[in-house]
């Protein structure tokens, strides 16, 4: 399933659902977007929000917390082995640039000191082994517990994936 139909409809759906998110957030001060930011908005922002926040229980918040994953190699690999990332139509270089925008700009404040930007060759290699076999949400939950326990990551990382078989809480969007 690709690209051209599904995300468009998702975007349409989300436009309805998250119509209250100010569109202006996607722009920098001059009103223009870098190619990396534009790719983030087009390929990731539909679900994650153009500034990296939407509904933290249904979609992981990226803002001020996605950078924690760079604390250890498995976490760093996780971000580009996610099927929705690995299967993206972006080239390796474009994908590396979009990931770097996500980690260093959106994830500002959560990136460990001295973390190196993603390189195209690294992304090329990682995306060849997408996480299609693992129980993905449990795998993420394992990484998150390590991040909180060993690296002092924010506990809000735990918000995602709480199954709500019941009436929603008051602040769910």
């Amino acid at each position: 399933m690709r690209a051209q139909t599904l995300p468009l409809r998702i975007l349409q759906a989300l436009t309805v659902l998250f119509a209250a998110v100010p569109v202006a957030m996607a722009h920098n001060a001059t009103g223009a977007m870098s190619p990396a930011q534009a790719n983030f908005v087009l390929h990731c922002g539909g679900c994650h929000g153009v500034d990296g926040t939407t509904n933290a229980e249904a979609v992981p918040d990226l803002k001020h917390q996605v950078g924690y994953f760079l604390n250890f190699p498995e976490g760093r690999a996780y971000l580009s082995r996610l099927p929705n990332v690995a299967f993206s139509t972006l080239t390796d270089q474009e994908l590396a640039d979009a990931l770097n925008y996500m980690v260093f700009v959106i994830g500002e404040g959560s990136v460990p000191q001295g973390a190196k930007p993603y390189q195209a060759a690294e992304v090329a290699s990682l995306r060849r082994t997408p996480l299609t076999g693992a129980p993905l949400r449990a795998y993420r939950a394992g990484l998150v517990e390590r991040l909180i326990r060993d690296y002092g990551a924010a506990e809000t990382l735990r918000l995602y994936g709480r199954d709500n078989y019941g009436v929603g809480s008051a602040d769910r969007r």
Partner: protein, 400 residues
Amino acid sequence: MTGGRLGKALLASSFLFLIQVTESARAEDDTTPETYGVATLKLPAPPHRFITANGFGTSTFTVFDGDTGKMEGNISAGYVPNFGESPDGSHFYVSETYWVHGTRGARQDMVTVYDAKTLSAEKEIPIPSRALVNQLHNFGLSLSGHRGYVYAMQPASSVIWLDLKNQTAGGTIDLPGCSMIYPVGDEGFTSLCGDGSLATVLVSDQGKVTMTHSKPFFDANRDPIFDDSISDTASGKAFFVSFTGLVYETKLGATPVIEKPWSIQQAAGLPVAGTGVKELTWRPGGHQLVAYHKASGKLFVIMHMGNYWTQDAGGSEIWVLDTKKHSLVSRFPLWAVPTSGAIVKDKPVYYRNLQVSQDQHPVIFLLNTEGNDMVLDATTGKLLRKIEAASGGAAYVSGM
């Protein structure tokens, strides 16, 4: 009785008399007065009954009699809902989402179970929240109807399975890198994956899940498969149609068998369509663009003239294909519908959704977002009737 009261009573009865006179005068004018009441739907459903999804965002599902064009019932639904009918026709299922104050407040996600005769809501099965995607194969029912499946994008893919015998949610199944639901018998479902494979998930009665992947058979970047491709749960027969017009007939099962593809265009005596952005030819396109008539093995596909990457365009013809001989049976030209200007200025809007009834004298239900629902003879393509209803979402029939 005092004079005042008597006066009031007389006044009231004279009103009644007046109404009676008016009504009988109307009857003489050949106008039958309508009364209100609660109707019930026929069970089993007549073969030409169809149900449409209307609107985007909050929706309704409307029941139509294709033989008379009459609207028979209406189900109000929440945001970006999906619809299913139990195999025995006794229940309708709507997966839906509400916010208690319309667009804000507490969010509630559920699958609502309706009695298919009275359209009264019997039960709400709570499910977790998810991103809402307007796709046909977001919801599926098993062969017996004892299981239901709701596709959930969070945005990691998963499927919420339902135990419909007990009307409860069973749990959530991870489906990384794959999406949509094509039910496989009573055992599970198959999904389309971004690496070009099919994932088949089997769920035991105890909720134990096993997932296997087929070998990749299509290239999701070069020639993807329409997620609105079609499958028949009873026979396990599926037709996965690619953007260029290749048809991959597949036998769904624990290990799906994917046949060598054939080309819709080649079936019609044209060259196999390629992926050129300037390559103008007949191409499949639309939303619910494929329908299958099980008894005759005929496939109905909405086609348009366009370049590659025009797969969302509505069609100006329906092509009828023989899936056994891989040949074209007929081409039904459709009618351009003038638009209100809101979507495509100065261009006619064509048709994006079709469905076909499963009886021996099948009809096609054809929808567009601007004009009327249309009922066509599926053998001749003749327009049988127009129904004034801007449905446009999707059309459902019993048995598919």
